[in-house]
Amino acid sequence: MSPRAARTKTASRRRGPSVLEQRAAQPLAAVNGAASRADRVGVHKTYKLYIGGAFPRTESGRAYEVFGARGELLANASRGTRKDIREAVRAARKAFDGWAAKTAYNRSQILYRIAELMEGRRDQFVAEVMAAEGVSRARATRAVDGAIDRWVWYAGWADKYPQMIGTVNPVAGSYFNFSVPEPTGVVGIIAPEDSSLLGLVSRLAPVIVSGNAAVVISSESRPLPAVTLSEVLATSDVPGGVVNLVTGLRRELVGHLAGHMDVNALDAFGAEPEAAARLQEVAVENVKRFVAPPAAGLARYDWMADSAQSPYLIGEFVEIKTVWHPIGA
């Protein structure tokens, strides 16, 4: 259900004869155990953007209400703008060279550390996924565990995928010739709308494991687990700017990310299929690499399946560089 629909429904349910024609604000729900007791007022978290390793509010100063699957108000999330996207791309470009230049062993350990820190916040993620997706604790736990394990899985690929994708080429001449994968650059990611954490991690990990920097537009209706993930990233030795996360209304954001001239690739796997053609068209402006959403959408996509993780996915966001050198005395 869209947040707007949820809001209307909740509002109409609460509206009684004596209430003014004015939308009554709900109290924020206690997602992260910030429940108030008789003797203590809970401390709510402010959900902010994540750009260049910092947590700014959107430059617009605007927010939008995020509702849980049962219609409860979860948070006022940042309603990011085109300018935030531009700042995020700038931060990603700045971070790219350094991240790409790290040794594969180093990137591997950093991805593994993301898993370590997620594990430490497991309960928080479970609570947020439950609230956002309206699933049972058991199901949310499986999704969180799946997300953590996905980081571990991709961590192991950092220093292995080049050996699978790279080649030494037996050219017919006296030359040493080899091809190696290199990260494509700045990759825009439109995160899946429904799978708020596992879906996001499944798309993000294969992008950054090779050394790309990412600008992520989170799920619009379920952005909170993504924001919490950014807090994990900020403390996992992932250099600032390698992952940037913008929350907001997708229709206000995705076109600007797809059309940005300093973004080298766009992962639109999580985009709505109806929007994909237009995004792909815009992405042509600077010949972006483009990964389309499945034609039938993601409604029945199983993020837990083995097929949701693959070294071939890493391959979508790398460039093959071929090098020639003569052999001689």
Partner: protein, 506 residues
């Protein structure tokens, strides 16, 4: 006009040549053409038959070195595109996709062998139609084209080893649109992997250079491929657009300009067709002060004057470390003076004809802009044939990054020379382009080679060499030079459905 101004004569002296006097006279050494048969008219090649276009319409193909007509070829209509795609679709369904890989392989081996057998015929026709020197078509284009078929033949029955944990399947009909600079070689780059992967093909050669494609159709018949596996149609760009947007086409491969590639990509957005684009370039060729200068000179010359500079990966921006700038420029100018420009069929010719009047006009316009923007032009004082489309090998010094000749792809024998002091400055300047197809580095220092190679945002980097190609070696661009690779194991994936085991809710 400024372009024909008297060149400097000083550099020739540094090569020990008497100034203004040509010591090395070459007698004409034209390649025989009497063994080559060019038909007066070619129809569209659909279902292993040459058929007339409907409505019947032709256009003339000329020899750019003489401006004489060579033949007439069919001008495909929209309906003809439909016929070609239908033939390919039917061939894919009824024969080619059902044929075991090992049998497909043998057809491809046959093609390679027949091309080798008829290599001189291909070389002569290629040079007559494209304007490229016979020594290039004979020693580079044709042997490489045959080698491509031989290489990909061997993949046809080994695809499952190339993509572990996938179940590689052919896509269907591949629509392929290729340029005029390497007509036969680009055909081979496109058709060989497509057929090896089990697809059928509709290929549209460039409208100025269709003759070796139609000669290749003859090879297809000699190899006895099932009808419809390879189809070749000719016509202008709109026909190419018609072809790639045809709903029964599953895969599109395009080589050409970035602007046209973008038009195609926009038209295909949202269709789910697999697309590979090999587009323009503006390669940096970087020479450090410790480079072996004489070898570097040969590499620079090969980098930009090979095929008249009509090469997407041409080393059109030369970056010279300041400390060797003067000796290098002197040597380069002297070497330029020894290039023989003229009859493409002459075995001594280094630089042949520009492919078309339109391209010649584009080169001329960009060179004029270089002069107008203040760069200093140098051209050797060589004789140009009185007929045909020829352009003197040209170099510009005093070029700045903002000049059009340093930014835009010229696609002609025009070199822009810039300088740098430190490796970091070279990297910064070299990568300062929306293109990223190729780059060159010249230095004797091994660790510097690897630093530079890693720093170049380009798909192919030649270190102490330039413009080398091989079927086993993937080729393709970063950034706005396109996406996807051609050649090697990397060139196969673009022609296969690799969505893997199971569909996962899709």
């Amino acid at each position: 006009m400024t372009l024909t101004k008297k060149p400097e004569t000083r550099p020739a002296a540094s090569w020990g040549l008497a100034t203004g006097e040509n010591l090395w006279e070459y007698a004409p050494a034209p390649e025989a053409t009497d063994h080559v048969r060019i038909e007066p008219e070619y129809g569209l090649f659909i279902g292993n038959e040459f058929i007339r276009s409907k409505p019947r319409k032709t256009f003339t193909v000329i020899n750019p070195a003489t401006e004489e007509p060579l033949s007439k070829v069919a001008h495909a209509s929209r309906a003809d595109v439909g016929r070609a795609v239908a033939a390919a679709r039917e061939a894919h369904r009824s024969s080619w996709s059902k044929l075991p890989g090992r049998e497909r392989a043998k057809y491809l081996y046959r093609i390679a062998r027949i091309m080798q057998e008829r290599s001189r015929e291909f070389a002569v026709v290629e040079s007559m139609n494209s304007g490229k020197p016979i020594k290039e078509s004979r020693d580079v284009d044709v042997p490489l084209a045959a080698a491509h078929f031989f290489y990909y033949a061997g993949w046809a029955d080994k695809l499952e080893y190339a993509f572990p944990n996938r179940d590689p399947r052919s896509l269907g009909v591949a629509a392929q649109v290729i340029p005029w600079n390497f007509p036969l070689l680009m055909l081979a780059w496109k058709i060989a992997p497509a057929l090896a992967a089990g697809n059928t093909v509709v290929l549209k050669p460039a409208s100025t250079t269709p003759l070796t494609a139609y000669l290749f159709a003859d090879v297809v018949r000699q190899a006895d491929l099932p009808p419809g596996v390879v189809n070749i149609i000719t016509g202008p760009g709109e026909i190419g657009m018609e072809l790639v947007t045809h709903p029964d086409v599953s895969k599109v491969a395009f080589t050409g300009s970035t602007a046209v590639g973008q038009m195609i990509a926009r038209a295909l957005a949202g269709t789910g067709k697999k697309v590979t684009l090999e587009l323009g370039g503006k390669a940096a060729n970087i020479v450090f002060d410790d480079a072996p200068l004489d070898q570097a000179i040969e590499g620079i010359i090969n980098g930009i004057y090979f095929n008249q500079g009509e090469v997407c990966c041409a080393g059109s921006r030369l970056f010279v470390q300041e400390s060797v700038y003067e000796p290098l420029i002197d040597k380069l100018k002297a070497r330029l003076g020894t290039l023989r420009v003229g009859d493409p069929l002459d075995k001594n010719t280094d630089v042949g004809a520009i492919n078309s009047a339109g391209q010649l006009a584009k080169i001329t316009e960009l060179v004029e802009s270089g002069v107008a923007e203040g760069a200093e032009i140098f051209q050797p004082d060589c004789e140009l044939p009185s007929r045909g489309f020829f352009f003197r090998p040209t170099l510009f010094t005093g070029v700045s990054q903002s000049h059009r000749i340093a930014q835009e792809e010229i696609f002609g024998p025009v070199l822009s020379v810039l300088t740098f002091r430190t490796p970091d400055e070279a990297i910064e300047k070299a990568n300062n382009t929306p293109y990223g197809l190729s780059a060159g580095v010249w230095t004797e220092k091994g660790s510097r080679i690897f630093k530079m190679v890693a720093a170049m945002r380009a798909g192919v980097v030649w270190a102490n060499t330039f413009n080398r190609f091989d079927p086993t070696s993937p080729f393709g661009g970063y950034k706005e030079s396109g996406h996807g690779r051609e050649g090697g194991i990397h060139g196969l994936g673009a022609y296969l459905d690799l969505s893997g085991n199971g569909t996962n809710g899709r």
